[in-house]
Symmetry: C2
Subunit: 285 residues, 2 copies
């Protein structure tokens, strides 16, 4: 299946990400429909021209018309939705998602899904510290990475179509990773960083610190403003991997702490040089 | 002493911060001189109009002409300089510094200094991940905090003059803290954050991670590109305070980790809510 002009897209879950997908696809000329829980989100998205139509009711008649379905739901709700309504899909439909954890999601979905529809997992690594379709903004994809996580159950065409979707949405890079590699990587780059930011932010009352706060603390805690329902679910879905990344970080932090404790300047400087050298790769891109 | 128009400023140490002070003061119409180790820094600063004149030689004849002296040196070098050359100051001169740790510096300087000159400690909380006078840029002060750390040895006029300097340099906020409170605050807001960033950056080889890295990891490691000589000195000068801030962070991080380990969603969410609430204070300013 290739994504071509007469494809109709359904977005299930009109939040920040679902709404941004809808905006990007509508602006490209596709017909985009939506299913979401709140009527006000549908009304808003229609008024702003993000979608052509939408509904809060899941009916076969509505679902049946779409060629590609993007799920922008919380993981558990996504699984429940598919268990309940997968009978409504048109045969041959391509399904994808935006979930931030892949291993526990992708295999489960592929196992429970009908044989005549294909699910290709995807993770758009884009977001903001605000939520809801009211904050939808396709420009968040511009400098972001889009990761497709196929399994042996996926077809070459399905994988290619899912990658094409990332491309037309405007992502900077499209990558392919196994669900396991994805979760390891995201456990480190995204989940661990959120754990660090949250822990740092909860160390002290902050009101009296604001006047003295420079960019360093602000940068390290930007993501400490966190959607507790979503992140709690994502952390627990990737628990083993996340805990091992947290242990790795604690080891490194304790190593630096020991070097300070013993005033081991050579060790301290060697750690800082490694850090400086490794950070430099990020400046080049 | 008030900072008025016919005051002559001497900057000792023409690096990023010294050079930015020089630029701001010269642009305001003050006569600014400089003493620094490398002739090329003097040449560059003169050519770019950051200073009126400068020298690599410390002579009484040169030092003697200035009313305000700003030291932008590493802590140890600063103490050594004053021990060696304080006889060269004109009587009544105001001395200040830019050092990131105050307790071990301010009292030592005030103890060793002649009675007819006044030292008021200051910490301009501005910086970049680049170094040297070639990167001097007075705009780094615009959104930054300037903290004056007076002691009982300081005069009201001296403190006011030092605050005025922060104001004319263009800092957003001018605050006053005791050297001890300053070091506690900086141990948390600045040194701990650098320890976290460095530890995170040294966890893994980074070259293969670049393609998957979103804003979170980039934000948390921006300050991981670090000047090891300067930070090593600052960490050790503030060792006791920094170690206690590191312990506080480890406690909070372990608390979050335990809640994940035991899948205690109520605890996880409660931590995240505190984090979100505390981070919100930073959005308002």
């Amino acid at each position: 299946m290739k994504i071509i002009n007469d494809v109709k897209f359904l977005i299930v879950g009109l939040g920040l990400i679902g709404g941004s997908y809808a905006q990007a696809l509508t602006d490209l000329g596709y017909e985009v429909g939506a299913i979401t829980r709140s009527q006000s989100s549908i009304d808003y998205a229609k008024e702003k021209g993000l979608i052509a139509h939408g509904t809060t009711e899941v009916t076969k008649e509505y679902v049946n018309q779409f060629d590609v379905v993007v799920f922008a739901l919380y993981p558990k709700v996504l699984i429940e939705w598919l268990e309940k309504y997968q009978g409504y899909f048109k045969s041959g439909v391509l399904i994808t998602d935006v979930t931030g954890v892949k291993g526990p999601i992708v295999y489960k979905i592929q196992e429970l899904l009908r044989d005549d529809v294909e699910f290709v997992g995807a993770h758009p690594m884009a977001g903001r510290e605000v939520y809801g379709v009211q904050n939808a903004d396709k420009s968040i994809f511009r400098n972001a990475n889009y990761i497709v996580t196929p399994t042996s159950k996926n077809t070459k065409d399905g994988i290619e179509a899912c990658k094409s979707l990332g491309k037309i949405l405007g992502f900077k890079t499209i990558a392919e990773l196994s669900p396991e590699k994805h979760d390891e990587m995201i456990g480190f780059l995204s989940q661990l960083t959120h754990c660090i930011a949250v822990s740092l932010m909860t160390c002290k009352e902050s009101e009296n610190l604001v006047d003295y706060t420079g960019d360093s603390f602000r940068d390290l805690t930007r993501i400490a403003k966190i959607n507790e329902d979503m992140w709690c679910e994502l952390f627990l879905l990737n628990k083993t991997e996340l805990l091992s990344q947290m242990d790795l970080f604690i080891d490194k932090f304790q190593e630096l702490k020991s070097s300070i404790e013993s005033s081991d300047t050579e060790k301290m400087k060697s750690i800082m040089r490694t850090s400086t050298k490794r950070r430099a790769f990020f400046d080049k891109k």
